[in-house]
């Protein structure tokens, strides 16, 4: 009886956590005496959120943002996955490149911003580039790590059954590294979403990052916080759906032979 109740409440614990977060937020805005802070109260922000949703203003900003992240991730995957496979497969390439990649990975993509604008101009292109620069490293590194875990025996067995190089890539290496590839993709999505907001504060007139600056310039502080909430919510949903996708594709993983 007791354990049942614990389990029941357990499912809703994340929701309770969020409610506690809202209460603390409200308390903070109540306690600090600042006229500006009154705009940030829960009861002011949520009506703004509702308004953005029902007027459709929300989607007009979300779609360009999603498109930018999508394009950058696609390019990063198309480049990063083959690169990761090559690096994982040829030890020389790995030794040649890994230190440099680890070095590049530690540079915030935003550091490239002036160069990106100088060479790519103003608009979507520098944003693609900045998000790409954040997304590519986890994809390369996780993919190559996955290749390192492909058992040599699997390749020998495949050859025994008559597999050519192409078959080995398609039927052994890619399915074997899929878990690591999807992990890399999930990390890349998280980083992309974080990079996107500051990247959109430059030279574009749409997207979630832009809306934060725009709302500030209009002194619409409640709306600004509503945009911040939207950014968090969409990022959360992206992460959850990737986790779900990974679970679906890799149904076998929980039975993996260790």
């Amino acid at each position: 009886m007791k354990s049942e109740r614990v389990r029941f409440s357990g499912r809703f614990l994340p929701l309770w956590g969020f409610i506690i977060f809202l209460i603390l937020w409200e308390l903070a805005t109540l306690m600090v005496k600042n006229p500006l802070l009154s705009n940030l109260r829960v009861e002011k922000v949520f009506p703004e959120l509702w308004r953005l949703m029902v007027t459709g203003g929300l989607w007009k900003q979300v779609l360009p943002s999603l498109k930018r992240v999508g394009v950058a991730l696609l390019v990063a995957s198309l480049g990063g996955i083959p690169m990761g496979i090559l690096i994982g497969y040829y030890r020389v390439l790995e030794q040649l490149s890994l230190a440099t990649f680890q070095f590049l990975r530690m540079i915030s993509p935003l550091a490239w911003m002036p160069l990106a604008i100088m060479f790519l101009g103003i608009g979507d292109k520098p944003i693609y580039f900045l998000v790409f620069m954040g997304a590519i490293w986890p994809i390369i590194i996780n993919t190559s790590h996955g290749v390192g875990r492909v058992e040599k025996d699997w390749i020998k067995i495949a050859k025994n059954f008559g597999a050519m190089d192409w078959d080995i890539l398609k039927k052994i290496i890619i399915p074997a590294i899929l878990p690591d590839m999807l992990t890399g993709l999930r990390v890349a999505v998280g980083i992309s979403w974080i990079i996107l907001v500051p990247a959109e504060m430059l030279g574009v007139t749409s997207g979630l990052g832009y809306q934060i600056l725009d709302a500030r310039d209009r002194f619409a502080y409640s709306e600004m916080v509503a945009w911040i909430l939207i950014i968090g919510a969409i990022g959360y949903l992206l992460d959850v759906s990737l986790r779900k996708l990974r679970g679906r594709v890799l149904g076998y993983e929980k039975f993996e032979i260790t």
């Binding site: 025996d153 699997w154 020998k156 067995i157 495949a158 050859k159 025994n160 059954f161 008559g162 597999a163 078959d167 039927k171 052994i172 399915p175 074997a176 899929l178 890799l250 149904g251 076998y252 929980k254 039975f255 993996e256 032979i257």
Partner: protein
């Protein structure tokens, strides 16, 4: 030669050594010659670490010998081939494929049409006792089951020769017994040439048409034994036990060195 036909496999003056990471050359196989007749069940019996796996790798074609040659149907085998499938001690199943898909692997590579694939796989699923497990993943089933899948996957491509590297070595004794019986039963339906490697004397005597006993490294052939009594064999019969004792004695002398240094 008992048979006027050309032997399926001829191994002639085979020798193989390896370089250790320290740069020392270790001779694994000294000089080995033997033949395997078509349809024969040959067991290669030897102490642990005697180079049995190396010998199999040479026979299958994963490695090239330093000296000597391996002839298949009288010709030097150039590459590994689906005609000669190796069964691994640890099954070597692909964890991302279901049982059905694992068995299908070789058929995909041979581009066998879908309808025929289904016919072949369902028959193998039936005779290897895997019915009801087709949609499970390897990690969901026991080691004994996994080795059946491995056997079914090999039989699916209808190879001429099956090489088996201690295939039941990681299973417990009762499961091993079951699978030995099943292997004999399956082979009585699908006649294959089998080269079966083991260090288990009873297993060798239970399965073999002929047994080759290897020394410890550098490996050479110590003795060849042909059990005269027919299969299925009774492991507690006098003739079985007598031959078993004889083999154990040979192995003891051959592996004395290993015992004394405590390996």
């Amino acid at each position: 030669m008992k048979n006027s036909k050309l032997p399926k496999i001829i191994v002639r003056n085979l020798g193989k050594s390896f370089l250790t990471p320290r740069g020392e050359r270790v001779e694994v196989i000294k000089e080995i010659s033997f033949e395997v007749q078509e349809g024969e069940f040959l067991v290669i019996l030897g102490p642990s670490g005697c180079g049995k796996t190396t010998l199999l790798n040479l026979l299958v074609g994963f490695e090239k010998p330093d000296r000597g040659e391996v002839l298949i149907d009288g010709e030097r085998a150039k590459e590994v081939s689906p005609e000669r499938i190796l069964l691994w001690q640890f099954f070597g199943l692909f964890p991302w494929r279901t049982i059905w898909e694992n068995i299908e692997f070789g058929l995909e590579l041979k581009r066998v049409p879908q309808a025929e694939r289904e016919k072949i796989i369902s028959e193998l699923v039936r005779i290897t006792g895997l019915r009801g497990f087709e949609n499970r993943y390897p990690g969901e089933i026991s080691g004994g089951m996994q080795q059946r899948v491995s056997l079914a996957r090999a039989l699916a491509v209808d190879p001429e020769v099956l090489f088996m590297d201690e295939p039941f070595g990681s299973l417990d004794a009762s499961m091993r017994k079951v699978l030995e019986d099943e292997l004999l039963r399956i082979l009585s339906r699908k006649k294959k040439t089998v080269v079966f490697v083991t260090h288990n004397v009873e297993e060798a005597l239970y399965l073999a048409d002929r047994i080759i006993i290897l020394s410890s490294r550098p490996t050479r052939i110590v003795k060849e034994i042909v059990p005269s009594f027919s299969k299925p064999r009774d492991e507690i019969s006098d003739e079985f036990l007598k031959l078993k004792n004889e083999i154990v004695k040979i192995l003891r002398t051959e592996t004395q060195f290993l015992y004394t240094v405590g390996l």
